[in-house]
């Protein structure tokens, strides 16, 4: 052990000259850990490790060649840092308590959501032009109460594994939904038949390696069509503490955070899946929650325990959607005109910019 240590120190000295230039980070990291104890001199008892203090000032743990020793030293360094952090936290807390009411307000943590880049398409509810545009779009028939949603759910050809179960469970969530086998039919040939039978939605679940990974949601009779990526599908069986199977009642729908113009279109697309008047007797809620452009779907049942408390039970399934494209008109991936397409590396270059 001793031998190796000597060689390390000599090595590190030799390296120091040529390393100083290129690995400034290492040196800084080492120094900062050394500077902090100086600032807070009262915690002398933490400097129990005599080896740590005997190293030259620009020493970094990663230069130790013996793996066991390096690990040991690294753990010690970590512990030391942790201790310091905890003490700093305690000190701050004490200060706050001492100040009482005069304490400065707690800082709001910075998240990429509250640092969001302003989107100029954010819909102003009083905007007449957008109101007109939405009032006369393809969903206006549903929102004016002229049509009742009727949904056809199908899959990619020859579904296997979880996909079919997922479809069946979706059909219990959405009222008036019918699951059909695809039987190798082309979507473009299905669509006219659906229109003739008064379906208002065509929903296609695509799968890859027996796992559902895509969802095409096509509003009928004249579009639009949205294409989503599906991930993290948890079927009813896999959810812990779930309630009994959902009832036939039509659920309430909650749409969260669909703020931009595109988000509004997507929100309306989801809203039009469910009948307009929810049956509150069923106490069921379907939630589409948008956060950082990911749409989380949850299905719950609630119960009022008393006047103040309410309990919820998840019924499942749960999954996450991410919008890939929104196409004008019914499904036509080759000749259709796209209203919005996710362009990776171009649109998500800024992590604080959201599309929905």
């Amino acid at each position: 052990m001793d031998f190796t240590e000597v060689s390390v120190s000599s090595d590190s000295k030799g390296k120091k000259k040529n390393k100083k230039g290129k690995s400034g980070n290492h040196a800084k990291g080492g120094q900062s850990s050394r500077v902090e104890p100086k600032l807070e001199e009262r915690q002398k008892e933490t400097k129990m490790e005599p080896e740590a203090s005997s190293f030259p000032p620009t020493f970094s743990v990663s230069e130790i060649k013996n793996k066991q020793r390096r690990h040991l030293m690294f753990m010690k360094l970590k512990q030391e840092k942790r201790k310091q952090k905890m003490q700093l936290k305690k000190k701050k807390k004490k200060e706050r308590e001492a100040l009482g009411d005069k304490a400065p307000p707690k800082e709001v943590p910075k998240t990429i959501e509250n640092q969001r880049v302003y989107d100029e398409t954010t819909v102003d509810p009083e905007d007449e032009e957008v109101a007109f545009d939405e009032g006369t779009d393809e969903f206006s028939a549903y929102f004016n109460g002229l049509t009742n949603p009727q949904v056809l759910i199908t899959t990619s050809d020859r579904p296997r594994g979880r996909t079919m179960r997922f479809c069946r469970q979706l059909a219990t969530v959405i009222p008036n939904a019918h699951v059909y086998y695809r039987k190798g039919l082309a979507l473009k040939r299905i669509i006219p038949q659906c229109v003739a039978r008064n379906f208002t939605y065509l929903m296609v679940v695509n799968e890859d390696r027996q796992v559902p990974n895509g969802l095409v949601l096509c509003h009928l009779p004249d579009g639009p069509t949205a294409h989503f990526k599906v991930s993290n599908v948890r079927l009813r069986k896999e959810i812990k503490r779930r309630g009994k199977d959902p009832t036939e009642h039509s659920p309430e729908v909650i749409l969260n955070n669909f703020s931009t113009r595109l988000g509004h279109s997507i929100g309306r697309l989801f809203a039009a899946l469910f009948p307009q008047d929810p049956q509150f007797v069923g106490r069921q809620v379907a939630t589409f929650h948008n956060q950082r452009d990911f749409i989380f779907f949850r299905f719950h049942r609630y119960i009022f325990k008393n006047e103040k408390k309410v309990g919820i039970q998840e019924l499942g399934p749960r999954f996450t959607l991410k919008l890939r494209s929104l196409q004008k008109g019914t499904f036509d991936s080759k000749f259709g005109e796209y209203e919005w397409v996710l362009k990776r590396h171009e649109m998500d270059a800024c992590r604080r910019k959201f599309q929905l």
Binding site: E120, T136, K328, F335, V341
Partner: protein, 378 residues
């Protein structure tokens, strides 16, 4: 309204039936339509200048009427019903020298109208499902049209019975299968009789009526989605094309190579036009944005959110757009500096603009915020 309309340098027709004017140098956008009279029947399909001085705009609406918009007064002055909604909406609208009008519907009827009167002077058929009809800027009597399963045809309005030129279908492919036609947009090349078209099968073709060859003299491909719009750069050496997913590129017409892509669009392109004198190209489409790119450095210079899906776009040639660095015009501008303060303001932006795209976007956003605070009539 009048002073607003005189400011605007870009005109756009939207799917909600609103005519929009954008002044890029003042960073303002105006709607020239009252909100309570909106209807989807008035969706603007084509826009054109009614005269070379660009004092009046012609709007072709979906319900088959043509409206005239006066830039001086800022109001609609005239409305004529020149089509039938049964025949499909307008696929082309051009003014003729001497006050006449040339219209083309999607069903393929090209009609010449006198300045007044309800009956067309001449009528000819350009086949079925015409996607675009345009008139040659050089020879006023030459008209080209094309559409789905309807190859390019060039007509002479003096004798409308037979087309001057009919494109022949492409050769069968290597499997001996027929290759379908689908002209989506076309333009006349300056200083020659050539016509460039873009197709729904992602090709760009150049046809030359002067040669006996009726197949395209040049064939280029871009991407694998239908091309929807096309615009020639001012000197005619290249063409800007856009497709249904908002991919836009400059194609060189000498060899048909891609000269560069124009980025930043998120939805399909509907309208595309290059500025007559400056190296700028404006695009609009289903993503509800007007975007102005520089042709030389291909950076995004302006981005304006206009709230409705946009169908067509028209640039005015006299106004400066504020951006782009044409050195040739700089000298001219110094002389007229005293008279036109606006122009000089627009030029000053050049210093800020050529920075990175992100910064320009943010600038526009801040500008828009300011505007909202002001509560302008956007």
């Amino acid at each position: 309204m009048g002073e607003h309309s005189r400011l605007c340098s870009v005109w756009l027709g939207s799917e909600t039936g609103i005519l929009k004017g954008v002044s890029l140098s003042h960073r303002q956008a105006f709607n020239f339509c009252s909100v309570n009279q909106l209807s989807r029947d008035q969706e603007v399909r084509v826009l054109a200048w009614s005269d070379p001085t660009q004092s009046e705009l012609l709007l072709g609406l979906v319900d088959g009427s043509v409206r005239t918009f006066s830039l001086e007064k800022g109001v609609f002055t005239e409305s004529r019903s020149l089509g039938d909604p049964v025949e499909g909406c307008f696929s082309g609208l051009e003014p003729l020298p001497g006050g006449g009008l040339l219209t083309c519907t999607e069903s393929g009827t090209v009609r010449v109208w006198a300045e007044t009167g309800t009956e067309p002077v001449t009528e000819l058929s350009a086949g079925t499902s015409v996607c675009r009809m345009r008139r040659s800027p050089v020879d006023a009597q030459r008209v080209a049209a094309g559409g789905k399963e309807n190859g390019l045809k060039i007509f002479d309005l003096q004798n409308p019975e037979r087309p001057v030129f009919t494109a022949k279908n492409l050769r069968d492919d290597w499997l001996d299968l027929r290759r379908p036609h689908w002209v989506r947009d076309l333009a006349f090349l300056p200083d020659s009789q050539k016509v460039v078209t873009c197709t729904g099968y992602h090709q760009v073709h150049v046809f030359d009526p002067a040669t006996p060859q009726r197949r395209p003299v040049l064939e280029a491909e871009f991407g694998d989605l239908p091309l929807t719009a096309l615009s020639l750069v001012p000197d005619g050496s290249a063409v800007v094309v856009g497709n249904t997913q908002g991919q836009m590129a400059i194609l060189d017409l000498r060899k048909g190579r891609v000269r560069g892509a124009l980025k930043g669009l998120s939805g399909g392109v509907r309208g595309l036009q290059c500025h007559a004198s400056r190296p700028l190209v404006a695009s609009c489409g289903l993503d509800r944005f007007l975007r102005v790119h520089g042709l030389e450095d291909r950076t995004l210079q302006h981005k304006v959110y206009l709230k409705s899906r946009l169908n067509c776009l028209l640039l005015s040639s006299k106004d400066l757009l504020g951006g782009g660095g044409a050195s040739g015009e700089g000298a001219e501008l110094e002389e007229v500096k005293d008279e036109e303060d606006d122009v000089w303001d627009a030029l000053e932006q050049v210093e800020e603009q050529p920075s990175k795209r992100k910064t320009t976007e943010e600038e526009m956003q801040t500008e828009r915020k300011k505007k909202k605070k002001k509560g302008g009539g956007v």
